[in-house]
Symmetry: C2
Subunit: 403 residues, 2 copies
Amino acid sequence: MKHLNIGLFGYGTVGRGIAQVISRAKNAHAGIGRICVRNLAKHTADTDHPELFTDNADDIFNDPNINLIVEVIDNAEAAWEIVRRALVNGMPVVTGNKAMVARHLPELIELQREHGTPLLYDASSCGSIPVIRNLEEYYDNDLLLEVKGILNGSTNYILSRVFDHGEDYAAALAKAQELGFAESDPSFDIDGLDALFKLIIITVHAVGTYVPPEKIFTYGIGHIHESDIRYAREKGVKIKLVAQVVKISETQFTMFVMPEFVSPSKYIYSVDDEYNGVVIRGECYDRQFMFGKGAGALPTASSILSDIMALRHDYRYEYKKMSYIDRPEYTDDVLLRIYARYTGTNLPALLPTVHVHEQYISKESNYIVADIRLRDLIECRAILDAPDVFIANIPQFFIDKDN
Amino acid sequence: MKHLNIGLFGYGTVGRGIAQVISRAKNAHAGIGRICVRNLAKHTADTDHPELFTDNADDIFNDPNINLIVEVIDNAEAAWEIVRRALVNGMPVVTGNKAMVARHLPELIELQREHGTPLLYDASSCGSIPVIRNLEEYYDNDLLLEVKGILNGSTNYILSRVFDHGEDYAAALAKAQELGFAESDPSFDIDGLDALFKLIIITVHAVGTYVPPEKIFTYGIGHIHESDIRYAREKGVKIKLVAQVVKISETQFTMFVMPEFVSPSKYIYSVDDEYNGVVIRGECYDRQFMFGKGAGALPTASSILSDIMALRHDYRYEYKKMSYIDRPEYTDDVLLRIYARYTGTNLPALLPTVHVHEQYISKESNYIVADIRLRDLIECRAILDAPDVFIANIPQFFIDKDN
């Protein structure tokens, strides 16, 4: 069996997790041949193997013994350069960089085709839960109706602390960072970008269509306030940051990331702390629920290991659904029902709602429950970004009640 | 794209489900070319396409247009003949027959190798949950520690009705059969054989070792009594029929099927009704939980469709873990803690327990909570089969507490 000699880019939390997981997986016949880092001194100081480290990518790309690239650096643009160079050079790649994959997926697919070199990135979506692989391989038919889930471990951890344990938002965020669940730039998690990037990747493998980030409504949890939590508690629901892609007809699907009121009857209600949970709904199999650790060094590293092992067996994504004749198209022309809380901003006057069902006014804060088109939410971005505003989806419209 | 022309064996609940699912899956480019049934008159009376049906297997095997066999008949030995003939003839096969696969897996693997013909059977374990494919492809490393779950939808449905809704056992069983969750021979479900066969298949793909059915301790729910349900309720747990394969060391694993007291902190606690749920535990990814419909015509049929689509893309099981040098070996030399209820049978005198922790005696019924070796449970089969005896596993020994 061919020994896999890995050129590893990045030696942060995940990179060190990979080294640990690979040394434990005896049947993998894989080892780390060279590690490229930005700050060489930082890593060579406290290691038994300083010779493994380099700060020059050429040392990996020009090493004839390296036969696999694993890329887990923090910087999306630098990651894109590394992955592109590897694919062009005919070196198979495993990456965990969701921002890079989500932004460059059409080019990455083209590069794989052009150079016949595989790129796997299951670790980029939901850590250790094998969502991409299952969407690509198992739900490979047009009976898939919806993929919906909690894709970001750190916001889920924060919401669990705030919601279930009555903790302060800032304290919960600091704890998430301390535990290594949150990215170094917390806005990446908090503003929903991390979940958005994962959703984009999932959507390509779910319905065969790539939608660029700027077209997708994404709203985070940064503005959540005690009054929102109280409102949700009174209704017997939890607020979760939910990402979803939903077919609304044979020819159209929609997708967005936003906080949602989740009732106890839903599978994702019980997905707490740093866990991720994904519900895959289809015409014939109803709902499948996959649940596991979505963040953390070892869960992510073990997903990377699965991709490494898959490359050994010549697995590659075939993007089969992209070649379907009847691929559904993305639309933002759908009606949502939302809860929208405000204090200073005059939301009822500013939002082009279709219908206002409830309006609550008090000295402390106000809210409306209203129907509004997703397209209008996208156009009202600036209004919704005001610090006194928070919105959450009340799922019930194009999605059936039991969802 | 090559059209898949299916030769279908069996046209019961699942067979009709397959016809329905395939007609809905427009991108599958598959159709049913011929259907072989036992009772021709029964099926040709009420169909628009009587010409599709035959009662002669030769009509399928000799038809040069048929390029795929799907086998979903009820009879395991007849299924074995069909599948063997197809593999020898170089025709790829999809089967849902867990009894046949579990009994003949070593021969089926050899036939696939010898004739270079693939056989897929993901539908045979857990209906629509892609357990086999994930164990084979995604958890393809030696970090896997345990696969544990509720694999039989009909007993789980019955226990849910009895346990959560206070229904009578016989009424719940009748309801399960009426809804099509229970096999035509209910003892297949009730005695744990269905879960056992699924566990054997899962074990081959989880740890790479085949263990024949007769070596594995299997205890069903047929003897469950009101006093057992009351006992479990008092302890705040549910009784579930659980199948598990667990590595107990680097070199050994154990496996068994038996009722278990499941506490609310466990994932499988909330797997109710006809659903299946599987927990995959590994060294680095902790626990993954997969949940979905394990029984019923359409969930099973959509799993069959996934296998059909996989064959189109030349997927085959590679049984990679069977070629590992350090495969763990099966052992029944492990200590369990069990609850054992009895009335007439003098269990404390008859069972070679290692230690009795509790003993309860009353006019109505008695029980002990005791430690006993799995090997001794296997040897005491006849005693445990007495109609006044019921046992359940109290998980805590070789399995860590948090499981």
